[in-house]
Symmetry: C2
Subunit: 315 residues, 2 copies
């Protein structure tokens, strides 16, 4: 058994203890569920999505959660995943110990199976996961938006972006643990995603910032998204930061354009508004679609706000 096989046996066998993985002894895993499924893949790269300060346990959990957020955005139930891990040779055993512990923690929390994957050495850390989820006949498609549909979000926006600004030393705050936790461990809105199938026009997760996601949807639908800044749900902690006179503009920009909150963003047409209001809790209306193009943001006095930076782009 070579070193690669030994590392896989030590750290990945125990968490791939499911029928599908077949003890990781085959060239592939077998998916015994003959259901309609969704597939999604996301990666995390050192010095692009994170830096050396991140704990490997957090990296593992975040990798699972950002992928699970895509599963949620489809209205699917998570099934399992394959994993690609490339790490430097130095400290590999300690690194894998922490990383696999993180996989195990959130793997159990979200009831997902590790099917298999690939392990390699690399000068920089590279991580990717491909997730499968099970859907029924109804799932979310992002091209059914119509005029006058109301735009909703599934929770507070901005916490993760403030966390990232703290980490990058662009903002200095005393109570930073709340924001860092939101950045490191987003909560994929799986139940919400499922409960919205058949009700909403579209559903996506806010990974690259509210404005970017809205702009994409608006462009795909040849409509304009209108957002009221004062309606965007904020945490008590973010409200506090927003009140500090020197940070107001910066924080408002983070709320609108910073990514990584992984809250669901969706819209509902007139005929489904009542059902949504009566049945789905903890969501917040922030605007509506109208004729036109792009995204328009209005302040408390219904005056348009202009923003240069639209969101996160990997290029």
């Amino acid at each position: 058994m070579n070193e690669e096989q030994k590392l896989i046996k030590t750290f990945f066998y125990p968490i791939a203890d499911n029928k599908e993985s077949m003890e990781l002894k085959n060239d592939a895993a077998v998916l015994f569920k003959k259901k309609k499924m969704i597939i999604t893949s996301d990666m995390m790269i050192e010095d692009v999505h994170f830096d050396k300060s991140y704990n490997p346990e957090i990296l593992a959990r975040k990798l699972l959660r950002i992928n699970l957020s895509d599963v949620a955005a489809m209205g699917a139930s998570p099934y399992g995943y394959t994993l690609n891990v490339a790490i430097p040779k130095r400290n590999r055993v300690r690194w894998l110990e922490k990383f696999s512990h993180g996989l195990n923690l959130d793997g159990k929390k979200f009831g997902i199976k590790l099917f298999g994957g690939d392990l390699s050495v690399s000068s920089k850390i590279f991580l990717s996961a491909t997730f499968l989820g099970v859907v029924g006949n109804k799932f979310h498609k992002n091209f059914h938006v119509i005029k006058d549909s109301e735009i909703y979000v599934g929770g507070n926006i901005g916490d993760a972006a403030i966390g990232l600004s703290i980490l990058n030393k662009k903002i200095s705050l005393k109570d930073k643990s709340y924001f860092l936790n939101k950045l490191f461990l987003p909560d994929p809105q799986i139940s919400l995603g499922k409960s919205l199938t058949g009700i909403v026009d579209f559903c996506t997760d806010i990974s690259d910032g509210l404005l970017t996601e809205l702009e994409t949807i608006a462009n795909n639908s040849n409509l304009k998204a209108n957002i009221f800044e004062s309606e965007i749900p904020l945490s008590t902690q973010t409200r506090k930061v927003l009140k500090k006179s020197g940070l107001k503009k910066k924080v408002l920009e983070l709320i609108l354009t910073g990514g990584e909150d992984y809250k669901l963003l969706f819209s509902v047409r007139s005929s489904k508004k009542k059902y949504l209001k009566d049945n789905i809790k903890n969501i917040k209306k922030i605007g509506f679609f109208s004729s036109g193009t792009g995204v328009e943001i209005y302040d408390q006095n219904k005056k348009k706000i202009n923003f240069k930076k639209k969101g996160f782009c990997h290029f």
Copy 2:
């Protein structure tokens, strides 16, 4: 539309023209085939699996083919794949042009669908793909080997390893294009893999070298693999190189331990030998399993050959 979205639209939309990808506008693709499937994932990293001298078109095709080889080793029919691409910002457009051309070429050749994926910037090139294949009730499992089963390979061994040695300037040859081609563009043995379901004890592809693969299977089965060096099928070109007095030992080592040939390796028990012989062409018996452990190689005089290096390991 940001740069990332523009690049995806230009280079990946045209080759993701299938029902499942839904124009890459959703957070995931939907798999409409409700069949039993296999899932496998493999990655390729700059300076680990390849270097800057590789053409992006070749990288794309090799990425697909090494994954398709795992699909073949399961006895599955390829369905489609998700893709993760991380590349330097510099020359990204030209790079993606060539890369997507390669994906398109082999995507059509093998009838596979691009479901979706993720694109990012990175200082070094990182590529991974996750493949789905469709299987019937019978597929290959790697833990049914029994004593006296005969060991077979699906084709010539050693060509790709010689190619790699040429590329790394460890061997110098006049006619190098044959070997480089075998290294760059392995042929996944999809038809062979399917035709062997229900007949063989195990089936895997030789990605990390003949001895490493055999050792893994032997260890998993508590058996010893016995291989006759003179029975290993070689190309005319490799035979020629082997005849050169100064290279004999080096080339023999490459044949036994060099990886990347992606030929299928499998074994058959007594009761199925006749069926195999009568029905499956272009395969070669190279040895058998017996009581014991590990791998034993015999020369023409049935004398044991000792090798230190057992195969390719990423650590």
